[in-house]
Chain length 191, copies 2
DNA sequence: CGGTCTCTTGACGGAGTTCAAAGCTAGTGG
DNA sequence: CCACTAGCTTTGAACTCCGTCAAGAGACCG
């Protein structure tokens, strides 16, 4: 049931069969429909979500009522708002399923107990955080050093199949420009 | 000697006197001159640096030979390239002292041994990473939702004293625009 | 005190936005 | 299973924020 998660953990730290069984006690497997919210702006985030199937995105709204996609999470990624989760403060982000999805849910109020039971998960989540941080830093680097057109080319060649699954307005806001501009890029009207 | 670091750790996890003494064995205290490099592009990052005094920045170069400041680290922040540090891959970033600085250096090849000696440091660094990730996400949020002028106002009201310590061209590249534009903002020539 | 690094100022140019309107697609209910 | 509607995408014209270039004025360090 949570074998995708067990496999993922084993890429980073050892986890024997008995520990995997303990882990299963702590992870709720949840099926959600398309457009279901895992977190809404203003709420305190209650859990960390592991994508088993489908994909989610985190986004926020500006004053002008425009959405900005903050990050995508596909299979084998965790998604949450760590800031809200750990400090129990209201989140500024929405997390929403974009396809019918299957999630492994680690509730915040069970997390400490889980880490006591399986201490090497501290290290596993340290690795997960390091990857998320590296991804965020790469994101900033690309925003600063590439044009909109270049970011689109970079993203669509890096994730050719994923691009098919995302509405364009969502990708545009992720890459930092408008849907109109993305449409013109795709039509070849931009250099 | 490393009391600033011990105090910082104690904000997140318990650390008794004996453990603090053990920690001191693992942390090299290093004084560096202004403009000293802790990491250069193309090198593998060898350590994680805790700022005791002074400040550093991480930056990268684009093809057009322009610098982009990636992040600043002031007193009580850690700075490194986690991606290079953990995966032992060449870094894309430079880390440089911007003032004469005092650092606590945790070498990568001693890190695992330190975590074995003081296991709660795994949790401490998890917290440090969570804060770094939250900061990176806030950064992305501001880049996407505010104009250059707004980002400058936001930064300079959030860190009024720090702004005095940074050359303007460095702040400009951190905020994502040119030094010329920052100069015009400060002259009041931008709405 | 001389040279290099940093900041300022202005004219011009361009990448990307905004607005509006029309075409298209996909989900939903009958 | 079709029709209808809401949401998504395309297109074009006008506009704007900010970049580029260039030249000069400080400011700091050896």
């Amino acid at each position: 049931m949570i074998s995708a998660l067990v496999d993922h953990i084993r890429r980073y730290v050892p986890l024997d069969e008995q520990e995997a069984a303990v882990l299963e006690q702590f992870i709720e497997v949840r099926e959600v429909k398309k457009k279901a919210f895992l977190l809404r702006e203003g709420e305190v985030c209650k859990a960390n979500y592991f994508m088993i199937k489908g994909f989610c995105r985190s986004y926020f709204m500006t004053e002008k009522d425009t959405e900005h996609t903050h990050l995508f999470a596909i299979e084998n990624w965790w998604i949450t708002d760590y800031s809200s989760l750990e400090r129990k403060t209201p989140s500024m982000f929405n997390i929403q399923a974009q396809e019918p999805s299957t999630l492994g849910v680690l509730h915040r109020d069970k997390q400490d107990e889980l880490f006591m039971a399986i201490p090497q998960l501290e290290r596993y989540f340290r690795s997960v955080l390091e990857m998320a941080l590296a991804a965020a830093h790469m994101r900033i680097k690309y925003i600063y050093s590439q044009s909109g057109h270049e970011r689109y080319i970079h993203f669509s060649t890096s994730f050719p199949d994923f691009v098919q699954r995302i509405p364009q307005y969502m990708l545009a806001s992720y890459l930092g420009f408008t849907p109109e501009f993305l449409s013109k890029i795709r039509a070849g009207k931009i250099s």
